[in-house]
Symmetry: C2
Subunit: 337 residues, 2 copies
DNA sequence: ATGAAAGCGCTAACAC
DNA sequence: GTGTTAGCGCTTTCAT
């Protein structure tokens, strides 16, 4: 039905290869014929068939995005939509398409990865969550398939990744708390299986130690990535010993903490969230949180992968292999009590 | 590098067409050769090249998903991720891939649609938001391209769509409020450019009228799709005349309303959200909300489109052209005061 | 039931 | 600079 390269060739009185050359913006083509071909394209409303190009080029210009295998709440976390938007923005800029699939568990995740790769649908893969023992990373590394992971993997050797400096971010937050006179600071994090949890926990511990405050293991809780987790964690901690501040690894957790605090009438406890989600300003008290710039993370992840893909031929010499996105502490009422 | 259909053919001592037939599960193939071919596939670790198949079949088995052209807050609304998940689930079940793109405005949205269509990347398109005057719908309808829209379009003629019965849902909520003795009920909705806003507003009005309560236009506000909008709207309404209840068209708006109510110390005002987002239970008071089952909406949208695509040949006689997903009122503290 | 051959729409040597 | 030709990996008549 729609015009092909041959139709254009005929209409412009040139050969198909010439048309192909103007599509690819080949240098050695006379302005005159180029003009004629372009005109023929317009006239016939011609658009290159991407499938045919992909087959001939052995490249689809599309990326496969793997959404995390996890429970509902985590996926509802705005982090993912923001990262997806960032990915989409850079991809669009470079003319790449994005496919996504949502998996329920790691086995399924690997299955989808294989499907993407074997079917030749994608040129590269973006992993949207790095766990401590991530089989997807292992698999992709082994077969030397181009991929990037959002979140620092356990072993960064020869893998592209982008993340915040989670250690530093939490370190800074806790240090600033200490400098203002807080000493009894508790920590509630998500599951330990996530690297990000451990990084932030480490930052918390080191900040305390750096100021000569002993780490109290009873002040450290990791649980679900949910308000429920924060709520229950905070109750447990308050029961143990009322702290002056509670730092968390996610706003969702912090929301739960705020609720528990209110119920226990311990309103002087400072609370800090992470990820600066859009509802943080609308808590009462409004929640201080660390903005991790999720959109930028997604953007840089796409950039790392696509740039890597495009530069395949020119030796992969000094290409950066990871990118650290800045965080920013957003102070609100929950730390100004 | 990887095995092609020819390699398999050679290994199994048959012709490529025979291999192709077993891939497509063609009936006229002897069990014996089928077995031999399958064995060869395993041995060579053969996987069909989807691009080549697509080119020959003129069908990619992939769908293009258009994320709404709108401000940040709206996209952060969990509705979209839930719908995306539903879409993904049905698509995966039927072996379809999903591509998404995020657009900033309607012009860009149409541009992406054209790109998807012209490049032949997708077999159909899913629109993730129906506005009153939706140019995308107009465009797709005109060129008779297969698509489905999430949300009831203004003109439903010859378009596939899935939605809640937003009129009925709001009608029921308001009626139940009236039956419990509430009379001064205000309404705060999102932008009027969204059909869903009008449907819910209509349900609100009719419910009042049905019980002989006059509609007070000062009790009706539409604004941004955000907490900010709810917050400011509620303040305005309270200033005008303190209502007994405020119904909203979105939890985000309701969150803002709750905040305004607290600040004004008007805690007896009942509040109802919409979409039953995951944070609704974590407000204080916990927020009563209408669960719209977004995942189901996405699932049914994908189903409608894919089933339509697959049945192209067999006359399109009695195929359903839309689907209504049930809503459910989830009562919490905010309506039990 | 199976094979031969043409074709899907585009690209990339290789010639001139 | 431009045309010719041979694929890319698969499907599908049309034979047999």
């Amino acid at each position: 039905m729609s015009a092909t390269i041959k139709d254009v060739a005929k209409a412009a009185n040139v050969s198909p290869s010439t048309v192909s050359r103007v599509i690819a913006d080949h240098p050695k083509i006379s302005d005159e014929t180029k003009k004629r071909v372009l005109a023929a394209m317009k006239k016939l409303n011609y658009h290159p068939n991407a499938i045919a190009r992909s087959l001939a080029n052995k490249s689809t210009k599309t990326l496969g995005l793997l959404l995390p295998n996890t429970d509902e709440d985590l996926f509802n976390n705005p982090f993912f939509t923001q990262a997806m938007r960032g990915i989409s923005i850079y991809a669009q800029k470079k003319g790449y398409y994005i496919m996504y699939s949502y998996s329920n568990n790691e086995a399924q995740e690997i299955e989808f990865i294989k499907r993407y790769i074997h079917s030749k649908w994608v040129d590269g893969i973006i992993l949207l969550s790095a766990k401590q023992e991530d089989q997807c990373i292992e698999y992709l590394k082994n077969i030397h398939y181009p991929f990037v992971v959002v979140g620092r993997p356990k072993d960064t050797h020869s893998v592209l990744w982008v993340d915040n400096d989670n250690f530093q971010a939490m370190y800074n937050v806790v240090t600033s708390l200490i400098e203002r006179g807080y000493r009894d600071i508790a920590f509630i994090g998500g599951p330990q299986s996530f690297i990000v949890t451990n990084d932030r926990l480490e930052g918390y511990k080191r900040a305390l130690q750096g100021r000569g405050i002993e780490v109290d293991e009873n002040y450290i809780l990791t649980s679900e990535f949910s308000e429920q987790g924060g709520y229950e964690g905070a109750k447990k901690i308050i029961e143990y010993k009322v702290p002056e501040a509670i730092v968390t690894t996610d706003d969702l957790i912090a929301f739960g903490v705020l609720k528990a605090i209110k119920e226990n009438d311990k309103q002087k406890i400072a609370v800090i969230g992470f990820n600066n989600t859009f509802l943080a300003p609308y808590q009462s008290p409004s929640l201080s949180s660390v903005d991790i710039n999720a959109e930028q993370i997604g953007y840089q992840a796409a950039k790392l992968l696509i740039d890597h893909l495009e530069d395949k031929e020119e030796e992969e010499h000094n290409k950066p292999t990871h990118y650290i996105v800045d965080t920013k502490f957003i102070e609100r009422e929950s730390t100004k009590l």
